[in-house]
């Protein structure tokens, strides 16, 4: 099977409109989470990471008219454009385009807008991105709850590995909409303070919005310092459609399978990028799965304290951040952590640290009982 690499990437979030700006914000411990008024909540509002629409419009206007594209489309187009601008040699007629999102332009169901309702269809969204840049192949769309962005990378790797194509642009994005805010509120899952992953005093999630894009390719472009997707696996809990498995079954199976495929053992993992939504059940489930997989010593963080839960985008932007952790040899602090609030003694990253990193594991879990594990490795000289 061919090797597969994560090459150029971009993150569009309230913390910045490039990956570099995002990492700079993380190092400075800046969070995107702000209080937003909403009468639905007893506390008259909730914390979320929301991109300033005026700022987005003004940045986007250098590329095209903001009037013709929805907020999510602008975010996704900006992310893809950055990646393509750094890869002008890429033949778009032979480059796959994989879009991942949970709800796409779902806000169009509600808001009075100039955009036709068909824009809410996810294949429509995919075609807008395809046509904007002139991709030649039919785009793929993956909508798999909160593992979508990571699963899209895995799907790209699988197709590339068997030679279906050589390059893929994977793009992920989701918005904070009244649609999802009301739903998570009905689940009583939204924290009344900025979310605190894995903490004793965690009270639930904070939502966030972001888009990310990455070039996944069978060709490496640097030597050394390429990040290879060593292996990946996904497994369903087969337990409950919204409640995380009490035994962490699907996540554990995904991790085991990814380790097996790469022929590495848990002790070799230098860094673990968890899902860490900060709900009571999710974080406990992850801790149990990590314990079962002998990963309690691996330094682990959740990026949700910086961004909130960006749903279908989260696993992609966190994969990108994991890639840069490896490249920069930097462990980023798990923001808003207070005291360990899960039953297993996981090794939370409590402060920024420089140390040699070679092998990282990214995990994600979502509604529908889905789970994903992906191993990333920094390649030495060939």
């Amino acid at each position: 099977m061919k090797k597969t690499y994560l090459l150029e990437d971009a993150i569009i979030s309230p913390l910045g409109f490039t990956t570099e700006e995002n990492i700079e914000a993380i190092i400075q411990l800046r969070s995107a989470l702000r209080f937003h008024e909403n009468k639905r909540f007893p506390s008259q509002g909730y914390y979320a990471g929301i991109i300033d629409a005026d700022h987005l419009n003004s940045v986007f206007s250098e590329m095209a008219s903001p009037n013709n594209f929805t907020k999510l489309e602008q975010m996704m187009l900006l992310a893809v454009k950055q990646v393509l601008d750094k890869n002008l040699q890429l033949d778009l007629s032979k480059t796959a385009l994989i879009i991942s999102t949970t709800k796409g332009n779902i806000n169009l169901l509600n808001e009075a807008s100039n955009f036709p309702k068909e824009r809410v269809l996810l294949h429509h969204l995919a075609n807008i991105i395809k046509d904007f840049f002139g991709f030649g192949m039919k785009p793929m769309v993956i909508s798999n709850a909160c593992i979508s962005g990571g699963l899209a990378v895995a799907v790209a790797k699988r197709f590339i590995g068997l030679g279906n194509f050589e390059h893929a642009i994977v793009v992920a994005g989701d918005l904070v909409s009244e649609f999802v805010v009301s739903g998570f509120q009905s689940f009583q899952a939204i924290s009344n303070a900025p979310c605190k992953p894995f903490s004793m005093n965690r009270k639930g999630i904070s939502l966030g919005e972001a888009a990310g894009a990455v070039l996944v390719s069978s060709k490496s472009d640097k030597d050394p310092g390429n990040i290879q997707i060593l292996s990946e696996a996904s497994a369903n809990d087969a337990n409950h459609i919204s409640g995380p498995s009490r035994t962490g079954e699907g996540l554990f199976l995904s991790i085991q399978q990814a380790l097996k495929e790469a022929n590495v053992h848990a002790g070799q993992i230098d860094y673990l990028s968890a899902h860490g939504t900060a709900t009571s059940f999710n974080d406990e489930m992850e801790a149990i799965a990590f314990g079962r997989a002998n990963l309690l010593d691996s330094p682990v963080n959740s990026f949700k304290g910086y961004y909130g839960h960006t749903l279908g985008a989260s696993a992609l932007i966190e994969t990108i951040l994991t890639k840069h952790s490896l490249l920069n040899n930097e462990l980023y602090m798990s923001l808003n952590f207070d005291e360990l609030g899960v039953s297993q003694k996981i090794n939370i990253i409590k402060q920024f640290e420089k140390r040699p990193l070679n092998l990282a594991l990214k995990t994600a879990s979502g509604f529908g009982g889905c789970n994903l594990a992906m191993l990333l490795k920094k390649e030495d000289h060939e």
């Binding site: 099977m1 949970t102 709800k103 796409g104 779902i106 169901l109 509600n110 809410v120 269809l121 996810l122 294949h123 995919a126 075609n127 039919k138 793929m140 769309v141 993956i142 909508s143 798999n144 709850a145 699963l151 799907v155 699988r158 197709f159 590995g161 068997l162 279906n164 009244e178 649609f179 009301s182 739903g183 998570f184 509120q185 009905s186 689940f187 696996a233 996904s234 497994a235 369903n236 809990d237 087969a238 337990n239 409950h240 459609i241 919204s242 079954e249 699907g250 199976l253 399978q257 979502g366 509604f367 529908g368 009982g369 889905c370």
Partner: protein
């Protein structure tokens, strides 16, 4: 695993008040039935005995019914992957949730506003702790289903694959599900998937 050894072992369709199993009529409503009634009748005809069924949204009900036709009494390996696709995502339930925003939002509705929930429901019913993915496509895409099933089988990530198309919008439904494994007579190919889907839709 070589390409020659993979077959479309079983297949089913639900459309226009009919259920066809391997091109044979399993159930046809005497007169036009609303979706709700069609689902209830089909539940009886198929002999599904699963109280959770009644709690599902209509997209998941369709998926469970179709799965039961091709999966019941089969010995499934736990690494049987599920690969489903449609055009409308969970839009029918999305509208239901959206319309409730001004009154009482129901968590039991909201949880179904993701297309991949059906993957979870099928996984739970048949104890499949396996690879899952939900693709959104404008129309039935035999090539994508074929190629991805091949990828899962050849890479050893799955020993068999439940795959297909399950679309629901404005109570109009179009479901085509098949089981792909090493057993059978119809070789897995884009052409065969396409033909079976089209036949089932006649």
């Amino acid at each position: 695993m070589s390409r020659e050894s993979v077959y479309i072992t079983d297949f089913v369709s639900l459309k226009n008040n009919q259920i066809k199993h391997q091109q044979k009529l399993l159930y046809k409503a005497d007169s036009f039935l609303e979706l709700k009634s069609f689902l209830k009748e089909s539940y009886k005809v198929i002999g599904l005995n699963y109280p959770k069924f009644h709690k599902m949204d209509d997209l998941c009900k369709l998926g469970l019914l179709a799965s039961e036709v091709i999966l019941k009494e089969k010995e499934l390996k736990t690494d049987t992957a599920i690969v489903l696709s449609n055009a409308s995502s969970s839009l029918q339930t999305d509208y239901k949730h959206q319309n409730s925003l001004q009154q009482h939002v129901s968590p039991a509705v909201f949880v179904y506003t993701l297309p991949n929930i059906i993957l979870g429901e099928i996984s739970i019913k048949y104890s499949l702790k396996s690879e899952n993915v939900f693709f959104i496509e404008e129309t039935f895409n035999a090539k994508l289903l074929n190629d991805y099933a091949q990828v899962l089988l050849q890479s050893g990530k799955a020993s068999s694959v439940v795959c297909g198309w399950i679309n629901l919008i404005n109570d109009e439904y179009d479901v085509f599900l098949c089981l792909i494994s090493r057993k059978g007579e119809i070789p897995l190919s884009v052409e065969n998937l396409e033909q079976l889907y089209l036949f089932e839709n006649e």
